[in-house]
């Protein structure tokens, strides 16, 4: 289907829906099914050689991680095709809002999505606790598949409906571990800590919800694994970034 068009032509027929940190994201509806086009455009601020090698490396890790995740039952968007020379990955379109949008930044009141839509948990039959449980469980499944995300934030978690399910996106900074050597507790702890920090800074009123998330993660990975991760998580919290230095 898409083979007859170049990546550039496809983007031309699509709608730019978001400029993320790494890429421009387009919604393509000109083909049989809707797709997301994630285009890592050349970043002019950094040296061209550095930019090329980073983009190449990240596309590779993203596609690898997405493929492994999908084959092992993690909820991620399916890869439709990759054009690594152009820096573009086409993925299945997930119709839903991010967990960041659903949580909003305030404890009270209605939440508005980035596109101005008013979001109401009741209307989709979910509550905050259930949402946090879904998130914790999905991250557990991801880690059990030997995948470290590298950039877990609430922006990178999408809630899809009918039935409600949390999908994980943005694998540009991910890394894979052989599944036989179950991903090290340290890596998993750092992954969770990145999310914990994102919670603390983006949703300061919801630190309790983060506990629900961790509990659900712990249940899914089982006591033995959770104990290992939990000890590391404790170490990570006390490490470098918590401390202030001179300046």
């Amino acid at each position: 289907m898409a083979n007859t068009r170049t990546s550039e032509e496809l983007r031309g027929e699509s709608q730019l829906i978001k400029q993320g940190a790494e890429a421009r994201v387009y919604l393509s509806q000109s083909q049989e099914r809707s797709m997301i086009l994630k285009w890592r455009f050349p970043k002019k601020y950094r040296h061209a050689t550095l930019d090329r090698s980073l983009n190449k490396q990240r596309i590779q890790s993203e596609v690898k991680a997405l493929n492994r995740a999908e084959s092992l039952g993690v909820q991620v968007p399916r890869v439709v095709f990759t054009d690594s020379r152009d820096g573009m990955v086409a993925m299945e379109w997930l119709d839903g809002y991010s967990v960041r949008e659903w949580l909003g930044s305030k404890a009270e009141g209605q939440v508005k999505a980035d596109d101005g839509m008013r979001l109401d948990m009741k209307s989709v039959g979910i509550d905050r606790d259930t949402l946090m449980q879904l998130v914790g469980e999905q991250i557990a499944v991801l880690h059990l598949s030997g995948i470290i995300h590298g950039d877990l934030t609430t922006s990178n978690l999408i809630l899809k409906h009918h039935p409600n399910a949390v999908y994980i996106i943005d694998f540009g900074l991910s890394s894979l571990k052989p599944i036989t050597h179950y991903t090290s507790a340290e890596d998993r702890a750092v992954d969770l800590y990145v999310l914990e920090r994102a919670f603390g800074s983006t949703h300061p009123a919801f630190e309790a919800e983060y506990t629900t998330l961790l509990n659900s993660y712990a249940r899914r990975v089982g006591d033995a694994e959770w104990n290992k991760v939990n000890i590391k998580l404790h170490d990570v919290r006390l490490r470098g970034r918590k401390k202030s230095m001179v300046g």
């Binding site: 601020y45 920090r197 603390g200 800074s201 300061p204 009123a205 202030s244 001179v246 300046g247």
Partner: protein, 352 residues
Amino acid sequence: MDTSREYIAIGLEGSANKLGAGIVRHNKDGSVDVLSNPRHTYITPPGSGFLPADTARHHKAWLVKIIQKSLFDAELSLEDVDCICFTKGPGMGAPLTAVAMVARTLSLLYSKPLVGVNHCVGHIEMGRLITGAQNPIVLYVSGGNTQVIAYSQQRYRIFGETLDIAVGNCLDRFARVIGLPNDPSPGFNIEQAAKKGNKLLKLPYTTKGMDISLSGLLTATSTYTTKPQFKSAAETQDDFTKEDLCFTLQEVAFAMLVETTERAMAHVGSKEVLIVGGVGCNKRLQEMMAIMAEERGGKVFATDMRFCIDNGLMIAQAGLLQHRMGQVTPLEQSNCKQRFRTDEVLVSWRSD
């Protein structure tokens, strides 16, 4: 805030090797005047850094002179100020306490309230004042700190930061490795050398979400200086010079900073970036940030050497904002904190 009269504050800063005293005035109409901002820097010989005890000795020797100059430039006496602000932390212990002691003494002598200020918050408030940026993502880059910060619900929240050494520390230490002078600052000399370099060597690039790691970068750059291809002038294609290393180090380290800043911008949906801290005067960093911001339809705000390098005025400005919200630091709580997180401070003067 009470706007029926004007307010004046003096701020004393000496958390690292820069010693400063600045005076700020908040006018009735809401405008702010910078009345004075002298500074004196403790400069060590090439190849050496500044040690806490020596730095404290420098501050003790110079602080009274700097305060007198500050008052002279502003044409004021200490009777005229509303409060005496000092850096409570973060910073090096001995230099911090040397300055705090003088602040306490002046507070008692002139019966003026003391206000302890978080150094990082000082940088942010100074940057906002000088540039007029309203609610930017802040990249705070200096010898001791590397943080990506955004304001939310009365706190400056840290979204990303270095996992190990600060970017200024990384640059300063590399300057020492290749013997660049510390005058006016090692970072400035790296910047000048980098302008003459053009070869990009391979270095580790470590971003973890919105955090970065720089210690491996320093090690890798330093290791290049032990290679036989490292020469004072390149003779063959494989050779590289210290200018090339400075160029590469800046390109890679700054790319990591700009990338994490962009992540934070995308995450919170902000269009403004403010760069503060000593490394913030680096023109190449400002240029890279401006290109990134432009690609996002945003804008970058930066200040020059007078304000982005540690100074007394930033402490006066943040301290006066605190003081006008009723905050006073009692004498018995006027100790210094070497580790004092940016997000520990209640930003009571902002309500947005």
